[in-house]
């Protein structure tokens, strides 16, 4: 990929206490593109997003966003950087004590001194973009899962970020909401001229909308390429993942300390 990358992850490792999550990851997110990070649950995808957002500090290696090394920033500079990032959380993470309108207005009110009429226009524009202008006075508890996700999307792009991160945007959605969200991710990215990172395990939907895919397994990038390349790939891990096979390079069993028969017999008789 070209040198003009918004996010550059070099040799990144991260461990919780002594449990390694990521080991030596390299990725690049070019400007204006939508990049997916895929992998089975628990392989460190969300951790990668948190490292990009500076919520965690890497054990070694660096994350560079728009030329700045994230973990070396002090908290003021980090907050400055985060203002230019938007993030969609897995279940929306809407503020449940505020209406849809106030949720979208939250960041604008916190970070700018714009007059209320202007905020009104901005919020309604963002809500219109996700098709929920009519729902602006509802509370988050009154929304369906798909609608909540769309409101969260409107909130994530409220300040026109340069980088939008999506943490499992497709999890738990019906097929219609799913393709709406997929569509919106692509359209918002192109309309705002932003770059997007989608962390997901929904292969079919995301292969339709992304430009480039990284496959992560056990804390390592095991494959990367454009959607066409990956669909055609013969690599066993990619094949298992793209076509959803139960057993393969990713084992069905979580590794256990002792073999199955030994452990059962040991407990019964020991």
């Amino acid at each position: 990929m070209s040198g003009d990358s918004l996010v550059k992850i070099s040799n990144l490792s991260f461990a919780y206490d002594n449990r390694p999550i990521l080991t030596g990851i390299n990725m690049e997110i070019p400007r204006g593109k939508v990049v997916a990070i895929m992998g089975s649950s628990g392989c460190g995808k969300t951790t990668t997003l948190r490292l990009i957002g500076g919520q965690l500090k890497p054990t070694s290696g660096t994350v560079e966003v728009s030329g700045q090394i994230v973990h070396q920033l002090d908290s003021d500079a980090l907050y400055e950087l985060r203002r230019r990032m938007g993030m969609l959380f897995q279940f929306g993470a809407l503020f449940t004590d505020m209406s849809v309108y106030d949720n979208v207005a939250f960041q604008i009110r916190e970070h700018t001194d714009l007059p209320e009429e202007l905020i009104n226009d901005l919020v309604l524009m963002k809500l219109h973009a996700v098709g929920l202008r009519g729902a602006h006075c509802l509370m988050p508890t009154e929304l369906s899962g798909g609608m909540a996700r769309r409101v969260a999307l409107a909130r994530a792009v409220a300040l026109d970020p340069m980088l939008i991160m999506y943490d499992e945007p497709f999890a738990g959605l019906d097929p219609i909401s799913l393709s709406i969200i997929g569509d919106l991710i692509r359209k918002l990215n192109d309309a705002l001229g932003a770059s997007s990172i989608i962390v997901t395990h929904d292969v079919q939907e995301s292969l339709k909308i992304v430009d480039y895919v990284y496959f992560v397994s056990a804390g390592k990038v095991v494959a990367e390429g454009t959607p066409q390349e990956l669909k055609a790939s013969k690599a066993p891990y990619v094949h298992q993942f793209v076509w959803g096979e139960a057993d393969g390079p990713v084992p069905f069993h979580y590794p256990a300390a002792q073999p199955f028969d030994e452990e059962l017999m040991g407990v019964r008789h020991g």
């Binding site: 908290s75 985060r82 959380f89 279940f91 993470a93 939250f106 960041q107 452990e263």
Partner: protein, 302 residues
């Protein structure tokens, strides 16, 4: 803000092991190093366990102190945009008024009954007003309203912050470059600190009214001596101000414990429920302990 980043870093890299890790499942071998290692003798196991829980608590106390400083340092927003704090005062303070007033009334009425019964034996039942007001203003007002406030508002604050954490609202706020300690925690903390003395005052006033109802209206103690003895004996600095200081200290304790437990809760349903329980238990105990210490310094029988 830097304090917050620090505490996160410490959490990620070490610090106290969360209780979750220590809940060994009854079957099978869980984790690489089970805490009660088999093969060690019982006293050694006991001592290991004891040491572990003591150091855990010390770590938590350190975290709590660190958090307290972080809240104070990030209080600018809560004080500058005071409507944020006012909103929380409404939720934790104003909504507690009913329970405080009703309890105050009953406590005062009981004091009236019990006090009359005792005082009458010494023929000094006209001192009932003094007894009721002094016990309320010095002791029962701050302590009982503190206990009520801890279980009504403290528990609610912990549950709310804990659930905001569990549903990633806190993380979302951080990612929006809004410091959750300044925006969520500090307003709730200051709301508690401001509400508590006012609630204690309301409790005492209502209690005195309850004592009046029972003593004067029901039993028939002379109204004149009830009020005049009270006014002559209760000293503003010695009695009332000391009671206000107590309720202020309890307000700080309760709010601090409530916001810390909420912010520190494990982001699961179980974690939030445990944190809420801890808030009520810890703040009740600290109210009583602090009350003893404060009383020992304030009222020395002079």
């Amino acid at each position: 803000m830097s304090a917050m980043a620090d505490s996160q870093k410490t959490k990620a890299t070490g610090g106290p092991q969360k209780p979750r890790n220590s809940l060994a499942s009854p079957r099978g071998t869980c984790g690489p190093a089970p805490r009660l290692a088999p093969g060690k003798s019982l006293p050694v196991q006991f001592l290991t366990h004891l040491g572990h829980s003591v150091t855990d608590r010390l770590w938590r106390l350190g975290f709590a102190a660190h958090f307290f400083v972080a809240v104070l340092l990030n209080s600018g927003t809560a004080l500058r945009r005071f409507q944020l704090t006012i909103r929380e005062i409404y939720f934790s303070g104003a909504l507690s008024i009913v329970i405080i007033l009703v309890s105050g009334l009953f406590v005062g009425m009981v004091l009236g009954l019990q006090g009359y019964d005792t005082l009458e034996r010494y023929g000094s039942s006209e001192a009932l007003g003094v007894l009721v007001s002094l016990s309320l203003v010095r002791e029962l007002g701050p302590v009982v309203s503190g206990l009520l406030f801890a279980s009504r508002a403290g528990a609610a604050i912990t549950a709310e912050i804990g659930l905001m954490k569990a549903t990633e609202q806190i993380s979302a706020m951080e990612m929006m470059a809004v410091n959750p300690i300044a925006r969520v925690v500090a307003p709730r903390f200051w709301a508690g600190v401001i509400s508590m003395p006012l609630l204690a005052a309301l409790f005492s006033a209502m209690g005195i009214f309850g004592g009046y109802l029972v003593g004067v209206k029901l039993i028939g103690v002379d109204a004149g001596s009830f009020w005049s003895q009270m006014q002559a004996t209760v000293d503003f600095r010695e009695d009332i101000l000391n009671g206000v200081i107590k309720s202020f200290v309890f307000g700080i304790l309760i709010s601090w414990i409530a916001v810390f437990e909420g912010y520190d809760a494990d982001p699961t349903a179980e974690g939030v429920s445990r944190a809420t329980t801890r808030t009520v238990v810890t703040s009740s105990l600290s109210i009583l302990a602090a009350d003893f210490i404060l009383t020992a310094f304030m009222f020395r029988g002079s």
